[in-house]
């Protein structure tokens, strides 16, 4: 754990992380004279809002706030690492609507519904989540390109878990 003040990239990563998670509503971080405050709407939205706080340039010297760098890690859901991926402004997160098993393809051996780089439209099926043999198709809901797939085939996924990232067209 670094005790130096965070640089601009680290602050950006924290903002991205806060955007990606579902359980962070507010985050405040003070590091010497660098202050970061993030507040989000209640509704977990797939479309990320622009980062509301622009970090000030890192100060040359700063009193160490010992707990600050640890906060994001502690606040993270105990259940599932939210992957290190940061979400850009035009990226949409696809989440599991129920706890179950993730399937990348319609049946074993068949090609995957989508791969990274594939273009999708709103009703493109991205994957299946199985709940007690009931197979639910998960659709893209936006038009764009699959940029990241965050889970493995046949992996257990919890309610709200990020499955894929889609970069919207436009």
């Amino acid at each position: 754990m670094s005790l130096n003040p965070p640089d601009i990239a680290e602050l950006k990563a924290i903002v991205d992380w806060a955007n990606l998670t579902q359980d962070v509503r507010e985050l405040s971080l003070k590091f010497g004279d660098v202050e970061l405050y993030i507040s989000r709407d209640q509704q977990p939205s797939a479309a990320p809002a622009p980062a509301p706080a622009a970090p000030a340039p890192a100060a040359p010297a700063a009193a160490v706030v010992a707990t600050a760098p640890a906060s994001p890690g502690q606040a993270a859901s105990a259940g599932e690492p939210s992957s290190a991926a940061a979400l850009a402004a035009d990226e949409v997160l696809v989440k599991a609507p129920m706890v179950g098993i993730f399937y990348a393809s319609p049946k074993p051996g068949a090609p995957n519904f989508v791969s990274v780089g594939d273009s999708v439209v709103a009703d493109s099926v991205l994957c299946i989540v199985e709940v007690m043999k009931l197979m639910s198709n998960i659709e893209a809901q936006v038009e764009g390109t699959v940029v990241r797939i965050l889970v493995e085939n046949e992996q257990a996924v919890e309610f709200g878990q990020p499955l894929m990232v889609i970069k919207r067209n436009g």
């Binding site: 579902q22 359980d23 859901s77 105990a78 259940g79 599932e80 129920m98 706890v99 179950g100 098993i101 199985e130 709940v131 007690m132 009931l134 257990a156 996924v157 919890e158 309610f159 709200g160 878990q161």
Partner: protein, 463 residues
């Protein structure tokens, strides 16, 4: 199966989720907590080996959703589901689904849950097992002549209830034989008019009663009892304080109750921890079976403290198909234990529940004091679930010491930020009536009424 469980999905929240996690840890069982979004910041989520979000805060889409729970169990590959109490713990359909999906369930079979959950069926089973039930009709009676015959046998005072009624509607107490025919005719015709069904239940009306229950545990072959719990201190049928042993039983009554409970379990082929509930008639000094709870109960620690037996561990052991490994002679009741259910409710304001943030929590400690709770400093009580924030259980070498210790522990307890029932528990425990042990189910209501009519504040201001 016949081998220890390796992993368990805990489909519950709050203190009971924590209780099961602790038992799993001590047994080396992987604990997977199924939690709702409303509990993401809770202590059980922090302490479980793994935590899986199964749905939103609303219980019907998470803790009460059989598909969400079973899906989590299948996806995360656990050997069995521990349901805790409440939620799906006595839901026969859920258990049938577990059986269909071949997911283990820490509890009895769906069939046993269904049979014991049906009040009339349970009463029939009890009678077959030779267990006394409240004198009265077994089922609903639609014929006036039959109803008259049953009523005449039951004795006075008796209670007539419209079978299609409920919530206090269509009920009448008959004090003497003189008014029986008239009362019966009237209530049946009222029921016909109001509900389109003249059927009634008839039973002895008991006025001076205690609530006494027997803790049982069975592996399907060996049925043991862990003595009784006395849950007479209730408010509006909600248990406030439970204790063991009961201050009113003698050895013969105690033995009779325990044997009745064991006979019932044997009759139905019971397997799991369970509670057989009785009313105890203070006047006749006799007892009648009321119902059976086919799950672990809130107040199970009372029996653990006097027996030294860890009921949750035994549940898990039995669910793995292992025998209990104890005989009735191994169960020795020592001393006395009292449990207070601490709720985030305001006794000054008709016990209105008050969720909120706990700014400071300090648990009481020391010899004989156990506080089962999921709260901690900084925890926000979510508004979605019940108001119980913990259970204080104190053991003493005798009832007097248990009361003194409970009072001392209540003094130490600090829950700042929300209003709790802790001061109300102190008030009850400090009454001469509670100390004497000589009270009935009306005691708490009478205490509240006396204060109201005396114009006194219910409680002194206190933290």
């Amino acid at each position: 199966m016949g081998e220890p469980l390796k992993s368990v999905l805990i489909a519950n929240r709050g203190e009971i989720a924590l209780r099961v996690i602790r038992a799993c840890k001590e047994l080396g069982i992987r604990s997977v907590l199924a939690y709702s979004e409303g509990d993401a910041d809770s202590l059980p989520v922090k302490l479980a080996d793994q935590a899986v979000c199964i749905g939103p805060a609303q219980a019907k889409s998470s803790y009460r959703d059989p598909r969400a729970v079973i899906s989590a169990a299948l996806a995360y590959k656990v050997d069995a589901i521990h349901p805790g109490y409440g939620f799906l713990s006595e839901n026969a359909d859920f258990v049938a689904l577990c059986e269909k999906e071949q997911v283990g369930f820490v509890g009895p079979s769906a069939e046993v849950i269904r049979r014991m959950g049906d009040k009339i069926e349970a009463k029939k089973i009890a009678r077959r097992a030779g267990v006394p039930t409240v004198p009265g009709s077994i089922g609903a009676i639609a014929e006036f002549s039959e109803a008259l015959a049953v009523a005449s046998e039951v004795g006075y005072p008796l209670l007539i209830k419209a079978a299609a009624g409920g919530g206090g509607r269509g009920m009448r107490v008959v004090e003497t034989a003189q008014t029986l025919e008239k009362d019966l005719a009237e209530i049946m015709s009222e029921a016909e008019v109001a509900f389109g069904d003249p059927s009634v239940y008839i039973e002895r009306y008991l006025t001076d009663i205690r609530h006494i229950e027997i803790q049982v545990i069975s592996d399907g072959h060996t049925v043991l009892h862990l003595g009784e719990r006395d849950c007479t201190a209730q408010r509006r049928n909600q248990k406030l304080i439970e204790e063991s042993p009961s201050p009113v039983l003698d050895a013969e009554l105690r033995q009779g109750l325990a044997e009745a409970a064991v006979a019932l379990c044997k009759e139905v082929g019971y397997k799991n921890a369970g509670t057989v509930e009785f009313v105890f008639d203070n006047i006749e000094r006799t007892y009648y079976f009321i119902e059976m709870n086919t799950r672990i109960q809130v107040e199970h620690p009372v029996s653990e403290m006097v027996s030294g037996i860890d009921l949750i561990k035994l549940q898990l052991q039995i669910a793995g198909g292992l025998p209990i490994g104890l005989t009735q002679d191994d169960v020795v009741i020592t001393g006395h234990a009292i449990e207070c259910r601490i709720n985030a409710e305001d006794p000054e304001n008709n016990f209105a529940p008050g969720p909120g943030k706990i700014t400071t929590f300090r648990a009481p400690g020391g010899f004989g004091v156990r506080m089962d709770t999921h709260i901690e400093t900084g925890y926000t009580i979510p508004p979605f679930y019940d108001s119980m924030i913990g259970k204080l259980i104190c053991w003493g070498k005798d009832r007097d010491e248990a009361i003194a210790r409970t009072l001392r522990a209540l003094d130490e307890l600090v829950v700042d930020g929300v209003t709790t029932t802790a001061p109300f528990h102190k008030k009850i425990l400090q009454t001469q009536k509670f100390a004497s042990g000589d009270f009935n189910t009306a005691f708490v209501a009478e205490l509240l009424e006396r204060e109201r009519s005396a114009g006194e504040p219910t409680l002194q201001p206190s933290r």
